[in-house]
């Protein structure tokens, strides 16, 4: 559900968690992101940083400058001024990412897990079956058929937690239990209703089924997109996976290696919740690609 009034929960002496509801609903993330924007625009004294997530937003504050109660009052005022969720408009870049689905690298990681840790159904087949899809080919069509909304970053610096914007492409998947000890860099995976890209080789718990050669994390700042941060994404960005074959993957990989790769990103759009919801309302949510 979406709460009538957000809950303000303490996290020790210097954090406050604003909880908007307790379900996976894009509207809650839009509220979190626009509240984060409102906090930045209004410059509440004593707020160090905010971190919106799926259904909540964490605030880190300096208690020497503002009390928990005063912060709660300030935030409540901003929530009230946000108005209805459908009025929200957010700056949103769109990134096109080539991705090989059912690639040899994630298959290798899954096979290694099945051999050494726990046997399981291979991830693409497993997710396809759980979601009632005909086969892995349809899974690839459905997973790549939508833009993904970057709801938040975390777990590892720069790792995007993304949600499918097109309801015809919503999928769910359980997490690994126990977790995987390694995942190739650039792996595309999903857990719960969220899709992610692994910025570097790390352990992980999502079902994995694809790989992109495009870096989303760069300590050396070799590309202009990393000038202000080593993380590519910001909350509110969108990602579209473009299925590709191994030849294109290797072509892009070589461009990344020699520094000639051009990020395919569109930067002129605003995301309107009203327009989005009007579009969603016209769709047949039961349809699949």
């Amino acid at each position: 559900m979406i709460y009538d009034k957000p809950r303000f929960l303490p996290g020790g002496d210097r954090y406050l968690l604003v909880e908007f509801g307790d379900e996976m609903n894009l509207e809650l993330n839009f509220m979190g992101q626009s509240l984060a924007q409102a906090v930045a625009d209004n410059g509440i004294g004593g707020v160090i940083e905010t971190a919106p997530c799926f259904a909540s937003m964490l605030v880190h504050y300096e208690p020497e400058e503002i009390s928990f109660r005063d912060l709660e009052t300030e935030l409540m005022g901003l929530v009230g001024a946000l108005g209805p969720a459908e009025d929200i408009e957010l700056d949103s870049r769109l990134f096109y990412f080539p991705a090989v689905y059912c690639d040899p690298w994630t298959k290798g990681a899954v096979d290694d897990y099945r051999a050494k840790i726990a046997d399981k159904e291979p991830d693409p087949e497993f997710v396809a079956r759980l979601n009632g899809l005909k086969d892995v080919d349809q899974f690839v069509r459905v997973h790549s058929g939508t833009e993904y909304w970057v709801a938040s970053l975390g777990f590892w610096p720069g790792l995007p937690f993304m949600m499918a914007l097109d309801p015809r492409c919503r999928l769910t998947a359980p997490k690994y239990n126990p977790p995987r000890t390694w995942t190739p860099k650039g792996t595309v995976g999903m857990g719960g209703a969220s899709t992610c890209i692994y910025p570097v080789a790390t352990p992980g718990g999502y079902q994995i089924f694809g790989r992109t050669p495009v870096p989303i994390w760069d300590t050396e700042k070799r590309f202009p997109q990393f000038e202000t941060s080593i993380c590519l994404f910001r909350p509110g960005d969108r990602v579209k996976f473009v299925p590709c074959d191994l030849d294109l993957y290797q072509h892009v990989e070589a461009q990344v290696a020699d520094g000639s790769y051009q990020y395919n990103v569109v930067e002129y759009q605003k995301f309107s919740v009203r327009n989005y919801q009007a579009w969603v309302d016209e769709l047949d949510a039961g349809a699949r690609f």
């Binding site: 996290g11 002496d13 968690l17 909540s56 937003m57 970053l153 610096p157 790792l159």
Partner: protein, 323 residues
């Protein structure tokens, strides 16, 4: 300039309060785990309390000074020696060009701190010199010090013979039992009354599977309210699963049945509940505890937790110095 002769177990450049402002990209604050001892070391040598210095874990380094100056060693007792002769801790000491400082294993506590007048002058990254090992950023080349490296030091004029008053130093319990403050929340309503009683009235043993990311605790099982056991499926299948949320630094994060205290290098978000949070004013206790130590938790209010940090801020100042 300081030459690293022996690196110690894990010696890293840190500053306080670390790398703030990047939590929404997943970057933790890092910084010294016992910021009480760390800040006092800086105060002794005339630096700002948060200036960059060295954190030494369990076994300290051997360092050769390529320039004379003033240093102070605080925190865990790593039996510091200068050219083979014991030097006092909690006191500013002169070093001359070519002298060697040797720290050995921590007799009490876990983390020793070395401040040098002028402060460590590595390149800041995202506004902080703190080392974040996991991502390989900050500090010296993003990782713990390695033998053969040379650590740059800024210009500074420290005074020798400045000491910390006895009452102003952190006390590390000899019986290795710690009483640690916690604030209930943000997800305390997922735990039932019996679960809360068990958490607050049981011994929790610090597991060896612990690092600057998180401290795992061994203890009794948790029990839950209906919020945890009867919830929308998108939260996840375990009672301690919740829709991914931001994590406070210091959160006691319940992964299945294992509580993990998320520390200076911890994750910014994830899909487990945080029934309690350790306030920053109590972090120094975590920084000085070793695997096998016993924790008991006691609840304090948000305001009491804030007063604790305020009091520490007051202590970590000129007020605590005698000459």
């Amino acid at each position: 300039m300081i030459e690293v002769v022996k690196q110690g177990l894990e010696t890293s450049v840190q500053d306080w309060p670390g790398r703030l402002g990047y939590w929404n990209q997943g970057f933790p604050p890092s910084g010294p785990m016992d910021s009480w001892s760390f800040r006092l070391a800086n105060v002794l040598v005339g630096n700002e309390p948060g200036a960059a210095g060295l954190e030494c874990q369990y076994v300290g380094p051997t360092l050769k000074f390529r320039r004379g100056g003033v240093i102070a060693v605080t925190g865990a007792d790593m039996q510091p020696k200068l050219d083979g002769t014991a030097i006092p801790m909690w006191e500013s000491v002169a070093v001359t060009h070519g002298q060697t400082l040797e720290l050995s294993f921590a007799k009490t506590g876990a983390r020793g701190y070395i401040a040098v007048a002028g402060a460590v002058a590595t390149e800041p990254w995202l506004g902080s010199r703190s080392t974040f090992h996991k991502a390989g950023v900050g500090g010296m080349d993003g990782h713990a010090l390695q033998a053969g490296q040379v650590v740059p030091v800024g210009e500074g004029n420290g005074a020798v013979g400045r000491k910390i008053k006895d009452g102003a130093k952190p006390i590390i319990p000899a019986d290795r039992r710690w009483s640690i403050e916690v604030v209930a929340g943000p997800n305390d309503d997922w735990i039932d009354a019996a679960g809360h009683r068990r958490f607050l009235n049981s011994d929790w043993k610090l597991s060896s599977k612990s690092d600057r990311t998180g401290f795992r605790l061994d203890g009794p099982d948790w029990t839950f309210t209906a919020k945890a056991t009867n919830k929308a499926p998108e939260h996840g299948s375990e009672p301690s699963n919740i829709i991914d949320q931001g994590y406070p630094c210091g959160a006691i994060n319940l992964a299945g049945q294992t509580p993990i205290i998320l520390l200076n290098d911890g994750p910014s978000m994830g899909g487990f509940i945080n029934p309690y949070t350790v306030p920053w004013g109590a972090f120094w206790k975590l920084g000085q505890s070793k695997p096998g130590d016993i924790f008991r938790f006691k609840t304090v209010s948000v305001e009491e937790a804030q007063a604790l940090a305020h009091e520490l801020r007051e202590i970590c100042s000129e007020r605590s110095v005698v000459t």
